[in-house]
């Protein structure tokens, strides 16, 4: 490896060294605030090193990784989400017994795993990144130890995630058997048409996508999502919904473009069916919930379905541009609005309480009690529902555009139908906040300036890019243009 390769790897090196530094700091001096500050510093330093890595001009580092602008774009999103999570968790973990240094260290390792996923160009790198991410998440989900739900959630996630990983491994083995390579871009050309291999290839892709569908929580592999999002501490749920999903999607998008797997009609149809089911079931099931975290969990299932529309458009359109562009814009928007929604839940909750502020009744009259939190949650809900003035609308506009440009009419109608249903449950939360009822009071629902400023920042992001998305569009187009 040359110097340039190391320079290209600098974000990965920064975060790895940073995690080690965090470990050393713990042995010297302990403290909640110190842990948060060092954790955030490491993430910020990594974020700052992204341009450095890109400037190295060596995107191909071994067969495993592609450290291109595409990876950097997603890495920036992951780091942004991790920073938001770290800051919001500070107050959340305040009244928990013991010092929470591990939380920030695990947040760093999870983010490292996500970064590896975004850059992976080889099945080995993919598996490595996925496991670093998942294993960190097992611990994070169970982190609060208070009561039974976090443990249940962690165990569920551990078992099911393990099964999904092994399924994918088996799928990769079959694909390797059919092609003799694990590099994405070589799969298509190395595949020899032969009845036996064709079966292996199909089966392998099927198993691989089943595991991915689990990670993306697509119907019918979604069962774990509401329980885990519900049981996990609120900041971790937000991280899970954004970084974990976004990293897997970043991989899927690259994999699909490089391996041309979607040109297979069967795979294409199966994914289209998963998309339609997720859009419809995710949103319909959310109607039945009264728990905000569960509502957001089901809504994230629907949003995963929306994302697949962009993925399928990538295949249909002759230039992959608008499909990939739609997916990347959508993910950026989805990150901001999901973090804002879970951020509000986090700000109102504490790890020391038995449950988070998650029942919809707890949000009654929030406009009068916590105007900032209520306004940001309203923006997040409108954005998730795809209403103009917010980034969610631009994102949905992109998806519908990609779908119509690719003539994916069935998917577009499922998207419209799903969004129509979704408006109801998002608005229910807004409506609850406008009511002046006697709300269930949660302890620790105090506002800190750090929490409020993060929320305001997210709210500003939602609105700014909702009104003037051109800078974001330019960035994404530059990223795709340089690929």
């Amino acid at each position: 490896m040359s110097n340039q390769d190391f320079l290209a790897l600098s974000p990965y090196i920064t975060i790895t060294v940073g995690i080690l530094v965090q470990l050393l700091v713990v042995s010297v001096r302990r403290g909640r605030t110190l842990a948060m500050v060092t954790g955030v510093l490491v993430l910020v330093a990594t974020l700052a090193s992204l341009p450095l890595g890109l400037g190295a001009g060596a995107p191909v580092v071994t067969e495993f990784l592609r450290l291109d602008a595409y990876a950097a774009y997603f890495n920036a999103l992951f780091l942004f989400a991790a920073i938001v999570t770290a800051v919001l968790a500070h107050k959340y973990l305040e009244n928990r017994a013991g010092e929470p240094e591990e939380f920030y260290i695990l947040l760093g390792t999870a983010t490292l795993g996500a970064m590896v996923l975004a850059a992976s160009y080889h099945f080995a790198a993919f598996l490595l990144g996925l496991e670093i991410l998942s294993i960190s998440l097992y611990v994070l989900i169970a982190y609060t130890e208070e009561g039974h739900p976090p443990l249940e959630a962690a165990l569920k996630y551990l078992v099911l995630s393990g099964v999904a990983s092994t399924t994918m491994l088996f799928g990769m083995a079959l694909i390797y058997n059919a092609t003799g390579t694990l590099v994405f871009s070589e799969l298509a050309s190395a595949f020899v048409s032969h009845p036996r291999f064709e079966l292996h290839m199909m089966l392998g892709q099927g198993l691989l996508f089943a595991g991915l569908a689990f990670k993306l929580s697509l119907v019918p592999f979604h069962m774990w999502t509401p329980d885990v999002y519900h049981g996990a501490p609120a900041p971790v749920s937000g991280y899970l919904a954004t970084v974990s999903k976004g990293a897997v999607f970043a991989f899927v998008l690259r994999y699909v473009v490089e391996s041309e797997v979607l040109s297979n009609q069967v795979v294409f149809t199966v994914i289209a069916v998963l998309a339609v089911l997720s859009m419809l079931f995710g949103n319909v099931l959310a109607l039945l919930q009264t728990n905000v975290k569960r509502i957001l969990a089901y809504s994230s299932i629907g949003h995963a379905g929306y994302l697949l529309v962009a993925l399928l458009a990538v295949e249909v359109l002759s230039d992959h541009r608008i499909g990939a562009e739609a997916a990347m814009i959508y993910l950026a928007g989805y990150f901001a609005m999901t973090l804002a929604a879970f951020g509000v839940v986090t700000v109102l909750s504490s790890a020391a309480a038995e449950t988070d502020a998650e029942e919809i009744d707890a949000y009654e009259g929030l406009f009068w009690r916590h105007p900032v939190a209520a306004t940001v949650l309203t923006l997040a809900m409108l954005s998730l529902a795809g209403i103009p003035l917010t980034i969610g609308f631009i994102a949905k506009f992109y998806l519908i555009t990609a779908g119509i440009d690719g003539s994916l009419w069935v998917l577009v109608w499922a998207l419209v139908l799903g969004s129509a249903v979704a408006i109801y449950y998002y608005l229910r939360i807004v409506l609850a906040m406008t009511r002046s009822g006697a709300a269930v009071q949660y302890p620790y629902a105090t506002q800190t300036s750090e929490g409020a400023s993060i929320l305001v920042m997210l709210g500003v992001v939602l609105i700014t890019f909702g009104i003037y998305p051109t800078p974001l569009i330019d960035i994404v187009r530059n990223v795709l243009g340089s690929e």
């Binding site: 119509i404 440009d405 229910r428 409506l431 009511r435 569009i473």
Partner: protein, 486 residues
């Protein structure tokens, strides 16, 4: 820059109104009034200084070049009238809620002004993306007006209002994108510009489906039977100012959409669709009137009568000749005045009697003669008395429709008789008839309420005796839109 500045002025006024709450509880009302008057003067200035033939102001700035989306605003005669109506009704809304809204007056006037800004945007936007943007933006503050300051069943009504309009909005979005990409396939030019999309060559099949998407979205807002069910709930539960804005302005955005977009963008498909559309119009006239007659809630009554009147508008637009379309435009303005006045009356009664039930009213004329006289005037205006604006509008629509389809015209004309029946029965049940023993003394209209009512009455009389002013402004636009050219 002027038009955008006008919209920004109203938006900024909303923010200022909210902030001014800290100074004094009444400050937001004054801020809102001043902003609306300044905006009104600005529009008058546009009117007196046209920039080109029948165009009073125009603006085009790049916004999202990736998709050929620009901030393209234009004010022609039709837009000018509707924008003026919007601002005038904004003043009515502020005045009518002067004493009604006590909780959070700052936030209330913020939402009010933002709704108005959205509507002004809808009436001036000529970029389809921008139009859709404003179309949705005007609904969010309206939703909050109903959800926070509405009456007993506000949550349900607000939700229903939002769901109906958002779902039809999604339909509109898909149709817009379908049109844009159909045009892109032919010309290779990605644009949301109205002028460029007007000439798009689209296959007949696709044109029909796209037209239907636009049509349904606008008819939901109009509202036409069978998409009207959100309206009685929203109108009834909204605070007075909300009802005034809904009836006087928001319904007009639906009619405006039909005139501005459905007919010019899809002339062939819309022409082929004129029979079902006219039928829907006639059914709305009769059904709305029938339902109005059987209501006992004052506001529900006015809401259903709006369905009936807007049925005439639908009939007029799709009768596809100049007379009927001009009648529809006159009726849009006249209905703005009369429905706003009736909702203001309903609000005033509710503020005094704490009920909207007509069974709990009766013989109110004796207690409040000024209110009685005002109510009689607007009831008579609503039933289509010659000499007032509504009559001119409905007469022109019927005259135009008669040349096209006699049975439907006869049916709609019967709607005018039903209008007389339900309107007079309203008068009988509230202000006339035996006095309700449960009603004590009642405050009559003061100068504040009376002055607004008289202004609207003058507007209706002016429309009734000299509709030529409106016709002169609208007919060059309607000619350009090619409505009624066949």
């Amino acid at each position: 820059m002027n038009l955008l500045a006008l919209i920004l002025l109203v938006l900024a006024g909303g923010a200022l109104a909210w902030a001014s709450e800290r100074v004094h509880a009444s400050a937001p009302r004054w801020v809102a009034l001043v902003v609306l008057f300044v905006a009104g003067a600005w529009v008058a200035w546009f009117w007196l200084n046209p920039v080109a033939d029948n165009i009073y102001a125009e603006l085009s700035l790049p916004w999202i070049p990736r998709f050929g989306i620009s901030v393209y605003l234009s004010l022609d005669g039709l837009s000018l009238m509707l924008v003026a109506l919007t601002l005038a009704m904004g003043v009515v809304a502020v005045v009518s809620s002067w004493t009604e809204i006590t909780a959070g007056p700052g936030a209330f006037h913020f939402n009010l002004l933002w709704t108005l800004a959205g509507v002004v945007g809808v009436f001036t936007a000529l970029d389809l993306f921008l139009f859709f943007f404003f179309w949705e933006v005007m609904l969010i503050p309206m939703y909050f007006l109903i959800a926070i300051w509405g009456h007993e069943n506000r949550g349900y009504a607000a939700m229903k209002f939002f769901l109906f309009t958002q779902i039809s909005g999604l339909l509109l979005l898909v149709a817009i994108l379908g049109l844009v990409y159909a045009n892109y396939d032919v010309t290779g030019l990605l644009t949301f510009n109205y002028d460029e999309l007007r000439g798009a060559h689209i296959s007949e099949d696709l044109q029909f489906w796209l037209m239907l998407g636009f049509f349904i979205a606008f008819v939901v807002k109009l509202p036409g039977v069978p998409f009207h069910t959100w309206l009685p709930d929203a109108h009834t539960q909204a605070p007075t100012a909300g009802s005034v804005i809904l009836a006087a302005i928001l319904l007009k955005t639906g009619a405006y959409g039909l005139l501005r977009f459905v007919v010019p963008l899809f002339p062939e498909a819309a022409f082929d669709f004129r029979w079902p559309a006219m039928l829907l119009g006639a059914v709305s006239v009769i059904y709305g009137g029938y339902m109005a007659f059987s209501q006992s809630d004052f506001k529900r009554f006015v809401a259903y009568s709006s369905v009936s009147h807007m049925g005439f508008v639908l009939l007029g637009i799709f009768a596809w000749n100049q007379l009927a379309v001009q009648g529809a435009v006159v009726l849009m303005i006249a209905h703005g005045f009369s429905s706003a006045a009736l909702f203001m009356m309903a609000g005033a009664l509710q503020e005094r009697l704490h009920t909207r039930e007509m069974t709990e009213m009766g013989g109110l004329w004796v207690k409040a003669p000024r209110m009685g006289a005002v109510a009689l005037f607007f009831v008579v205006a609503s039933l289509g008395m010659p000499g007032l604006g509504t009559f001119v509008g409905e007469f022109l629509v019927l005259l135009g429709a008669f040349q096209v389809d006699i049975p439907l015209t006869v049916a709609a004309a019967a709607g005018m008789i039903i209008a007389a029946v339900y309107s007079l029965s309203l008068m009988q049940r509230t202000f006339q008839g035996p006095a309700n023993p449960n009603v004590g003394a009642m405050r009559d209209f003061g100068a504040r309420e009376l002055s607004v009512m008289i202004l609207m009455a003058v507007g209706l009389i002016w429309l009734g005796v000299y509709p030529q002013g409106v016709l002169d402004l609208s007919s060059p636009v309607l000619d350009v839109l090619q409505v009624g050219m066949r």
